[in-house]
């Protein structure tokens, strides 16, 4: 029996919460419950980020996903008043296709990760690695072009959704 650190215990607890709530998210019948379980999953994943010394990422994850995107999800589901009685029945072949696509994705992921070499996690032990300072330096020095490109992608998506939301285009 090797020495178990508090980090390992926390990792196990967080993983258990994440996996359980993710499973409940899929299996629960009511869409509102699904969204609430998804929020719990996000919090567990934010805990994982903190364990990896990525404090900034953890808080931003909570602000963006749990605080903004899931509120919008909940908003839409409440407004459309979706529940199990009014849920549209999906045909069998669509369900089958979804299972096949998901399975193919899983196989791909497992294949990729199996072949990948063991990553060197030495850097992750540095407590300051996830601070805003370091993140900003890395983003604006090493990854400036991908960073700016992804922001343009967001802008395009925003313009597109405004266009779709407009009733008449004059």
């Amino acid at each position: 029996m090797t020495h178990i650190t508090i980090t390992q215990i926390m990792f196990c607890v967080l993983s258990l919460i994440a996996i359980t709530s993710a499973a409940l998210l899929i299996f629960s019948k009511s869409p509102i419950h699904s969204v609430l379980y998804l929020i719990v999953t996000f919090f567990a994943i934010a805990g994982h980020y903190i364990l990896l010394n990525a404090q900034f990422l953890a808080v931003v994850h909570v602000i963006v996903y749990a605080g903004a995107i899931m509120v919008l999800f909940l908003f839409v589901i409440m407004m459309l008043n979706l529940n199990k009685e009014t849920e549209t029945h999906k045909p069998m072949w669509i369900q089958l296709m979804a299972v096949l696509a998901g399975g193919a994705m899983l196989v791909t992921l497992v294949g990729v990760l199996k072949g990948a070499e063991q990553m060197n996690l030495k850097q992750a032990n540095d407590v300051n690695i996830g601070l805003v300072n370091n993140l900003g330096l890395v983003l604006f020095n090493d990854f400036l072009v991908p960073f700016e490109l992804s922001s343009i992608l967001f802008l395009a998506a925003m313009v597109g959704s405004v266009m779709l939301g407009k009733k008449t285009i004059s």
Partner: protein
Amino acid sequence: MSTYILYKLILVIAVFVISLVIAMYSTYGERKIAAFLQDRLGPNRAGPFGLLQPLADGVKMFMKEEIIPNVSNKFLFILGPGLAMLTSLCTSAVIPWGPDLTINGVKYPLQVADINIGVLYLFGVVSIGVYGIMIGGWASNNKYSLLGALRASSQMISYEIAMGVSVITLIMITGTLSTSEIAAQQHGFYNEHSHWFSWNFFKNPLTFLIFFICALAETNRAPFDLPECETELVGGYHTEYSSMKLGFYLFAEYVNMFISSAVMSLFFFGGYNFPGMDSIANPNTVAIIGTIVMFTKTIFFIFLFMWIRWTIPRFRYDQLMNLGWKILIPLSIVNMIATGILLLATGRV
């Protein structure tokens, strides 16, 4: 180590109790201010000047019959007010209430958790604060509650953006995300080196204005209290609630008000700093006066919240959305860009 934990425990309990007591007496203050503004007397029967009124209200809340609607989702119905209370109390953890106390050469900071991303933590907790209202409103299974919950969520999402941008402007000026450092930077009142006031309000008043309006909207206070607009929605999201669960919702609003007042005095009005704090030699005296100053500023902002509530009529819903999206967001973005240009031009970055 054990003294450290003991000290933090005492601090947490103290902050918790102070938040609740201030929230409790805010209800009394609100009635007295409303009465003053409407030329009435207000509560004056329970105890001297009616000072025991909040206790009587609390006892009433606890003793009332508790009704849970049959058709509602019981677990979520109970979770809603609990979540509202939890998130409103969570935010007090990162606020520095005063300068460090020094006892026997050991420094005791008057802040529960000095984390390096304090501003983001505040923002994160505020952004999940809407779930209490949304879940409670939905679980009630009442159309008025649902409408109130929908209004609350759309209003909070809309005003969070302008608030976020104004916080970014503040971070650009201060250059830090740590709340204790923001407080320390606003030392004293007038900075001799830069020949300007050290409080952030004097560096960028527009940011404060945007932040203040958004704080009013985020705490669902008048003139932004559409989620519980009684002329249209009976009681809004808490129509179906009774007893202490209703009390939790009302209380959470007052705690939110207290915390956002504390945040405003911390971000823009120097927190615990006061003019002439350098002329006092004893650091413990500075700490005690600083804490009193911090609470005085906070209580002034609570008063401002109440003053506005009893002066300005409620917005119409489309006016609320127009103000948020068409005025505050562009204004805050222009403010951010102008601040950035100014900081670059003066060589501050």
